[in-house]
Point group: C2
Chain length 407, copies 2
């Protein structure tokens, strides 16, 4: 049985006309596959409206009840879409997360999938040609409705593909694939045909919001090939898959950026054991996600620690530091919100040296001051002043030849 | 464990302010009862909007998918309301029909309850003080979502009360009880304190739309006392219960009417066996509900058959009769839409004669012509010209002394 999983996002199912387009896609796919599992998000805007409603009802809505409320968004989508399929005489039925079930833990609002009843799914696939599954939702072992958190429908789709051993998982969205960088700020940005899971993870975490990061982790873990493509074109999109030798030939696959950064520096800290823990412990307790961290080599027993955080966390971070800094004997606490992060990503970096050097040289040549540097196996990230972000993206895109199609 | 079931309709949960009022009711009831089961309808308008949406998506929406869609209305209500309870530190949780489960047959759109898992409910009542149950919905044995049809939330509430053996079932609505007749056309209409199930059934089927007819049948079958009362006042409302001797002392309990009537007459039919079957068989096949039927005594081997139907069915009925009448040898088919039905209802009638005679005499005295008569054990129904309906209601209300409070 050749099974395909297709996931359609909120903009793809927003209106009757768009759902009819989706039906066309599904109907066409039925010519190439025996069975299709369609995963749908809520119609664009529905989830936000439901969350807003919850906010009107309660300052801090009970999380389990909020999940029950919000999950109606996908429930509506799958009901409406399955009506369309049945009207076209396609043997189809809808499935809620709780009906399969897609069992999750009880972290309401951001639940993790524990198990999918694939035997039941295969049974239904014997009776129906298309199963229409509500994305973003599951249920606890005792049957309470959960949601998987933002972008969770991608995760639902990949998890279903993994459970069913489907040939491929298609994620339909309103863009036609993953780009070498944001086409809005770099006109020579090019769609990538194939990208490795690792690269995609680094791209996604940098705000290239095509695929939800957890879905990529899931795909990597279960080796599910994921194709990102557009509902509104026939372009084959981008295949996210295991890394192979052709990918390694490419030094850098993409340039990502993130403006949502604020920088905090603790100056002149005594360099004694336990300082870093004393700084980052209280931040982690408050759930503040620290991104880049740089600590300079100690000079005369004193050092500086600089780190970045999302901008909306700055106020709370400064409050915490105002408490921590005097205790540690820091000279002062500095901060800056006019900063942004730019990254060059590529599995090819692993086997090539010189990427960092080329990055710094290219930026310096244009007079862009580098505020922080952080490197990983397949990524180089620099922090710069925000006003340079578009320029830096274009320079790096050009430097690593991303406007040439090498495939 | 003293358990109370309280059902709140769509207008009672339409807004945040109203839901807060409902929370007050529930909270107060918790002083008198150990545990409360709250049954909620969808917020006013939601169900209609969802049905309308389905109608936009499909000319004849798949019934199972339509139920999945429409059931989101109650799901939203219970999620939102349970948030409010939790904010007031009340130990509460929501329950969908499928979570209990309330098992139904698979007549999607008008499913019948087969079984309620009362053991699970009692378990939850050990953990929580208030269970908030979605009305109007259940699920099939294999877990598909069903709805119980219009007014089904009343049925859910009564069925839950029956399953739990609760002391009483309160149905909250926007009127403060059952009236002797429609106060809009008879200013001396009086709220009834107690009414027998049978009387309520006759009232409900006549369009006194306070309680859904199926919920009354359910209540009667399982002897659940049902109190109809208003969310917006503290009036004790009307208790619908088993008939007792005090009720029988009252000759007539209420006057009901129904304008949605059309009359069709087949004239001069040969009076041979099988004629009635030939007339009403095809109507029943098309799902047309025939209400009153009168066949005169045969004169010279010929007879007339007259019956009434809802007005919207008239066109289809006449089409069917145009086909049936010539085959049966009827002289002609007559019809009239300017007719209405008025009924006097009361269990006391059973032991008293003369109610029919008094009804006819009172109407005749005012010059109201009686077109058809139909009587049952506890009801007398007459068909009259529609223009007389308000007058007839007032006359009968007065004739049977309904403006005097005898209790």
């Amino acid at each position: 049985m050749k099974i395909l999983v297709q996931k359609f996002g909120g903009t793809s199912v927003a209106t009757l006309e768009r759902m009819q387009k989706v039906r066309e896609k599904v109907s066409n796919a039925l010519r190439r596959f025996n069975k299709i599992v369609v995963v749908l998000s809520a119609r664009a805007g529905d989830t936000n409206n439901l969350l807003q409603l919850a906010g009107q009802w309660s300052p801090a809505p009970d999380k389990a009840e909020c999940d029950l409320l919000v999950s109606t968004g996908e429930q509506m989508s799958i009901g409406l879409f399955t009506m369309l399929l049945k009207d076209a005489d396609i043997r189809a039925r809808s499935l809620l997360g709780s009906q399969i079930p897609i069992t999750t833990d009880d972290s309401f609002g951001c639940a993790r999938i524990l198990e999918i009843n694939s035997a039941a799914l295969l049974d239904w696939l014997n009776q129906y040609d298309v199963l229409v599954v509500a994305g973003f939702q599951g249920c606890t072992i005792d049957g309470r409705v959960t949601t998987l958190g933002r972008g969770g429908s991608d995760t639902s789709a990949v998890a279903l593909a993994a459970a069913l051993g489907s040939v491929e998982c298609e994620i339909y969205t309103d863009v036609d694939g993953v780009y070498t960088t944001d086409p809005n700020i770099c006109s020579s940005a090019r769609k990538i045909d194939r990208i490795a899971y690792n690269e995609m993870l680094e791209m996604a975490s940098m705000g290239a919001k095509v695929l939800h990061i957890r879905s990529v982790e899931f795909a990597q873990k279960y080796r599910v090939p994921v194709r990102v493509r557009s509902t509104f074109t026939d372009d084959p999109g981008t295949l996210v898959t295991q890394e192979d030798s052709t990918m390694e030939a490419v030094l850098v696959s993409g340039i990502a950026y993130d403006r949502d950064q604020a920088r905090v520096t603790l100056r002149d800290l005594p360099d004694v054991p336990g300082v870093a823990a004393a700084v980052f412990g209280p931040l982690s307790e408050k759930g503040i996600l620290v991104d880049m961290i740089v600590q300079n080599t100690s000079l005369g027993g004193h050092t500086d620690i600089t780190f970045t955080i999302p901008r909306k966390e700055l106020k709370q971070t400064l409050e915490i530091m105002a408490n921590v800094a005097p205790k540690l004997g820091a000279a002062e606490v500095l901060h800056d919100v006019n900063v942004a992060k730019v990254s060059a990503i590529g599995v090819g970096m692993r086997n090539h040296s010189g990427v960092a050097a080329r990055t710094f040289a290219a930026l310096t040549k244009e007079g862009i001051n580098i505020l922080m540097i952080s490197t990983s196996e397949i990524k180089i990230t620099i922090l710069i002043q925000e006003k340079y972000v578009e320029l830096a993206v274009r320079i790096l895109h050009d430097t690593f030849g991303l406007d040439w199609d090498l495939s």
